[in-house]
């Protein structure tokens, strides 16, 4: 009996600390009410995604954790291979723990096709709204990589310094959530905020989010993983180059356009092999 009371006490404390988790879930079910556009029937699933794509999505979660782009937070998605109006994203879980069974299907309003009792990433709207705005994008990462945060809060623009980050040649816009929504909890927790972020991103490969993180897009999962890793490295390099004190020669936009490494296939083979061996 004493044992029971003990457990109850501690469970009570834990319950408080997971309040935000519960809040996410609630907010996710409310979402159906406040989503943009008219009421409609429950959307139909596009069917099972290519197992190879699912495997790559799981690998992407692990690879990005291995490289410190993701820690316990952040997420990576892929557009569904059978239906451009669907995307694939894990339930709310630390990326390192994601398995094939955790991957869920969403429509572009970021409604889950089959919620069950799962909690959702509160910022899934980042993915849905960018897939809407960018038909060329097949994969998206949202992360808090420590290397890029300083550029999001500084007036110094992030610029490509070497060929591995050449995909930044169009520039890296900064999303200032204050301009859109004033004082917030910094999270992209609505379609409207996701839409505003997608507007800031425009046709670029990546955007920084002030006081928060970044979003990176590509036409493939290997591509978005490679871009996320080299965005991070480029941020380190630029910080170091600036600290040396002299003028810095950045890639010329034309050099950047020509040098974009695209799918990072050679590295992807290595990264995936390592990630899946664990």
């Amino acid at each position: 009996m004493v044992r029971k009371r003990t457990l109850r006490n501690y469970t009570l404390t834990m319950a408080k600390t997971s309040a935000s988790l519960t809040a996410m879930k609630t907010s996710s079910s409310k979402r159906k009410v406040i989503r943009r556009g008219a009421a409609r029937r429950a959307p139909a699933s596009a069917g099972p995604a290519d197992p190879q794509l699912i495997e790559d999505l799981v690998a992407a979660n692990r690879i990005l954790t291995d490289h410190g782009v993701l820690d316990g937070y952040g997420h990576v998605s892929a557009r569904h291979d059978r239906d451009p109006n669907r995307y694939l994203l894990s339930r709310s879980l630390a990326p390192a723990l994601v398995t094939a069974n955790d991957i869920m299907e969403y429509d572009l309003d970021s409604n889950p096709l089959d919620l069950q009792d799962r909690t959702l990433y509160v910022e899934r709207f980042i993915h849905g709204e960018i897939y809407k705005a960018r038909p060329d994008v097949q994969a998206i990462v949202h992360h808090h990589s420590p290397a890029v945060i300083p550029f999001g809060v500084s007036t110094v623009p992030l610029r490509p310094l070497y060929h591995m980050a050449a995909f930044l040649w169009e520039g890296v816009p900064v999303f200032e959530i204050r301009d859109v929504a004033g004082m917030t909890d910094m999270l992209v927790r609505s379609p409207a905020l996701g839409h505003a972020l997608a507007q800031t991103l425009g046709s670029k490969a990546a955007a920084l989010m002030r006081g928060h993180g970044a979003v990176v897009v590509s036409s493939s999962l290997p591509g978005v993983v490679g871009r996320s890793i080299y965005l991070q490295i480029n941020a380190h390099l630029q910080a170091q180059a600036v600290a040396l004190g002299g003028p810095v020669t950045y890639l010329d936009p034309e050099e950047g356009r020509r040098a974009d490494p695209g799918g990072y296939q050679r590295a992807w083979e290595l990264w995936k092999r390592k990630a899946m061996a664990k």
Copy 2:
């Protein structure tokens, strides 16, 4: 016989080097004499703590070591789940080595309830005095994370730069032990020093200790672990942002208040799984 002499010689050398360890023990038994307040009977134990809480406390020790917040030094405590006037803290041991058997019960004057032949952390008063002053606090970390030390010795205030460190929105005071006790060995080795530190902390989530380290508090173990980890990351980020040279946009206090990540549950699940798998 020669062997014996050899061993004795080396043991002698080692004995000298562990002098400080012995000093701690002695000082701990003397403590009963010099503790604030009148003499009283040996305090009664609050009884065994929730095994789940003990397990989380062991996990917290390991997680904080995994993240470099703790190395061979520093400590993490939790308030007893059965009695708010008791707290739980390991015997003097490197955090990575702490197991459930090493956890001891203390009263808020930082007297052990059952000393046996164990040595105590000389700075346990940090914990007792903060638990006294802050009924809302359920868990405390004292650490020497290299990332935060520079802010404790600089005039540049540590400020939250992104949402993961939003809990710093009330500011991070610096405890200057010289103001309280003049020239010292920098350690919080008395209730009076612990009390002074608690005063500096006030209602905040964290305080820096000049030339020493930091103290972080939360309403849960997952919360204090997450806060310690993201305090460290935020310090890195701010140093890098400052080095870029331009003006820096910090979180607005209102943004910070709204964005406080609380219990860091998603990450805690990952951290604990990794820490306990070793």
Copy 3:
């Protein structure tokens, strides 16, 4: 049938992302047509290389990955021990994955002696052209070590700061591909560009490549591995020394000439043992 379509869809996406890989292969077969000098018979192989040399070359690939000099990209070669007009280099593969079976033989125009169906490093001309210009060189590394990139884009010259990097005493020239070829994709994808890089390198131990990486040479594989590792460390050290703010005392050229660590044999023994144990 639905399964098949699914697989085809995803395979299609992947095919696009590996376009650059295919491009490399095509460009490599075209190379035979555009190579400098007159048409000639297929060159004869110099015969199998010393297995010990092959083993060291495999080890070099792994060691440089272990030290972060190479990641998924970059490459290391050795001159053939039987014929100074041949060199040994892996097929296009992430260095960490290279085994003895992946090592190919090239002539100094960087034509493979036995292509089979393998893809080639698009920048192999770096190796061939330097072996042509530098009879003293037995091993070459091309890498993108993040530590050295900032010096390639800055006006601050990289200089040896301590004895382990004394081999830099002659200075570290910077190859500016714009001066040679205007706007490019930054890659040394032709004999002419390889030749220009070799000219910039001159008699030095290393050259930086603006917005790209570096090339390091030595009279042995252990030497070029050691030089690559300590070039990287020296770059870190110099960045830190500059950031301290005072004047910096570099190695005097005479000190550098005397202190060149040469073959790094003591470390090589350790590095190789660790690399081959995996």
Copy 4:
């Protein structure tokens, strides 16, 4: 026959690269001729050292490698427990590879008591000359920790910033080998240079060596290991504190004197357990 020639060719190349290794050995046998003081009989061994001390010395080699204080280079010694005129140091070997069988006995002129066919650290005179000059010193580390090199080449003095590095309170002198010997290969390869370094060290806990590394001393092996590790961390901290831009509050010498952590016993227990588990 072709095989033999192949092997000979490669062996020839390797022979060149290990020239410096051979040079060390030769120089070590010549040493007996040029050593200071009159000729004398072969010194008698002090007998086998305490196995516990040998084990700690092996552990120290590994711990310092684990912490990046040592890499393939640098060395750690202990004064013999049976004879203050003898010290213990590995044969020339990367520290991570040192086992009990590699530990050799030296007299204070740094002559090995039992050379056999082993090669010696060319800079062993650092140890012998400091043991001569400092009867209080029982253990010495010579290392090239990247963190401290910048302070050796800068005019910014290294100073203790927090209690874990309080042992630096007397200051950290810089040994400028040019002042003693003009242009050199930077190595302390003679008793005279070792003596000069000992003079610069004086009564301090550590000295930097310009363009080279550092030497750290203590009254015990755990002490010298802890000091080496926290010297490294303090150098990082100071660099970061300086970069923040404001004035920095260092430990007051009196604070430093009081706070010297001595034997670092709590951490040593952890470090040794980890190092010996490999």
